[in-house]
């Protein structure tokens, strides 16, 4: 039986979280000392039968009360700010991330690399690169938990959530589903395999299926008939998709939304939810006709349309 005390640190975020933890451990230890040492001393000194001065004390009660209301509050606020700042680092991926898609399903993790590589319950990443995961679930809520990187994020059906990490050590790390998801919840685990740049490239080429994610998306785009309305000179007027991704879209009801992954997803599955300004709702819903994997392929394709725009 091994006796680990601290989890492995494999990213800067891990160090940041551990520092916060040590900060809290110190203050907790201090509070325990402040409370328990006097308490045990009083228990000993003022126990029945032991002579001691028991006359009512003239302590400035209100002042003491105010002091031990304000002081903890101030200390708590320091930790609040510390925790919140660190939280922003965890929640906001830095720019220049490589993007990988993750789909949770009872009880496995499916991973799509932009190069077209796919894997199950394993995630190969290069060391030192910022990796941003775009995640969704095709059934219940899961959670993508990477203890070595001190990060986790619920994977919620019907929407995309993101999580990022930057491994700074080559190695193999745990991946757990940490949101209860049914019978084999405890077996919905996997490994994150951090490779050197060269090994990662070799791994990518070895498993390369021939088409990238965006190419698969393009094929789907034609097969499903999207291209008929959304591309080129079509009879039916539909909003053009070139240069769409990441840009603000004015809607029929006067509001403006950013065309992110979630927006494209909703537009495919629930076209009536947000109608682009100047258009009517003529598009049929594709709910039930495209899988979560295919949706992410379509989104990958529409993203490339963004970059091709003049």
């Amino acid at each position: 039986m091994t006796f680990p005390i601290l989890p492995e640190q494999a990213s800067k975020i891990a160090t940041q979280t551990d520092n916060l933890c040590w900060g809290l451990v110190s203050i907790s230890a201090a509070v325990c000392l402040i409370v328990f040492v006097p308490m045990i001393y009083f228990l000993f000194k003022y126990r029945n039968g032991h002579p001691a001065d028991r006359s009512p004390s003239n302590l400035p009660q209100t002042r003491i009360e105010i002091a031990w209301t304000i002081l903890p509050l101030l200390i708590f606020m320091c930790f609040y700010v510390w925790g919140a700042k660190a939280y922003f680092n965890i929640e906001r991926p830095p720019p220049g991330a490589m993007e990988i898609n993750v789909i949770g399903k009872q009880w496995m993790w499916k991973v799509q690399h932009p190069e077209g590589n796919r894997e199950i319950d394993e995630l190969h990443v290069p060391v030192g690169r910022i990796v941003k995961l775009t995640m969704t679930s095709q059934d219940v809520i899961h959670d993508f938990f990477l203890p070595a990187f001190r990060t986790k994020q619920d994977v919620v059906p019907g929407r995309y959530t993101t999580e990022w990490f930057q491994a700074d050590k080559i190695g193999t790390y745990h991946l757990f589903c940490s949101e209860y998801c049914g019978t084999s919840h405890s077996h919905m685990e996997g490994r994150v395999i951090v490779l050197s740049q060269a090994d990662y490239q070799a791994w990518l080429t070895e498993g390369q299926p021939g088409t990238t994610l965006a190419e698969s998306g393009e094929r789907l785009f034609r097969e499903l008939g999207c291209s008929g309305c959304h591309l080129g000179q079509s009879v039916i007027r539909a909003p053009p998709l070139q240069g769409l991704f990441g840009k603000p879209v004015p809607l029929n009801d006067g509001t403006v939304v950013i065309a992110d992954e979630g927006y494209i997803r909703d537009s495919i599955l629930l076209p009536a939810k947000q109608i682009t300004g100047g258009y009517t709702n003529d598009m049929p819903s594709f709910a039930g006709r495209v899988s979560e994997d295919e949706l992410l392929e379509l989104i990958a394709y529409i993203k490339t349309l963004g970059s091709q725009s003049p």
Binding site: N252, D253, L270, A272, K273, I275, S285, A287
Partner: protein, 212 residues
């Protein structure tokens, strides 16, 4: 006086204490009820925000004629309930009985109209589930789930109110009330007005807001 003295339960010292306790009890219960409906209102607000257009479309299918008749019935019933309370305060038993019965009658009228409306809703495939109308976008169904739950829970409350008033009528029939002791009438009135106020909110959210 002798009659009213009988009504003091053994845990209370005197009648004022019992009256205050019962009244506070009803107010506390109404606070609970507000949060009970509150969860529904919250769900409604969240989804209305997410699916503004679908909700507006779905809301236009509610039957405003029935809704308006029912609003009129309930508001009138609150008025007659107030008159019943007034009669009780004056110690006039006959008008008290009359107004109570009128209030019950209006409440039953509400339930009847609501039943007719439900019948028509089902007929138009507005009951959520497999047979739900295809004319509405998918999130429109959430509006109709909330419609059925909100009006359904409200109707159950109204039915309970009618039962409560029936007990009060029986007590009034047995001449239990006087200008000195009539707290049960007051408390039932509080409940009745509460059910009425909830309906006014439902009327606004389910029938009116979608038609501008």
């Amino acid at each position: 006086m002798a009659n009213s003295h009988e009504a003091v339960a053994e845990q209370f010292d005197d009648m004022p204490q019992q009256i205050e306790a019962s009244t506070l009890g009803m107010w506390t219960f109404l606070a609970t009820e507000i949060l009970f409906f509150g969860a529904l209102f919250l769900a409604y607000i969240v989804y209305r925000h997410t699916y503004a257009q679908a909700f507006a479309l779905a809301g236009r299918h509610t039957l405003i004629l029935y809704g308006t008749i029912n609003t009129a019935l309930l508001l009138t019933s609150s008025f007659t309930m107030s008159l019943a309370i007034h009669s009780a305060q004056e110690g006039k038993n006959k008008p008290l009985l009359g107004f109570l019965l009128l209030t019950i009658f209006l409440g039953c009228g509400f339930l009847l109209v609501k039943g007719l409306e439900y019948h028509e809703d089902v007929h138009e495939h507005l009951f959520p589930g497999a047979h739900f109308t295809r004319e509405l976008p998918a999130p429109g169904q959430i509006f109709w789930v909330l419609y059925w739950v909100m009006t359904g829970v409200h109707s159950i409350h109204l039915a309970a109110g009618i039962g409560l008033l029936a007990v009060i009528v029986w007590m009034a029939w047995r001449r239990r009330f006087s200008s000195y002791y009539h707290n049960p009438v007051l408390i039932s009135g509080l409940y009745w007005h509460f059910v009425d106020v909830i309906w006014v909110w439902l009327y606004a959210l389910l029938y009116l807001i979608n038609r501008h």
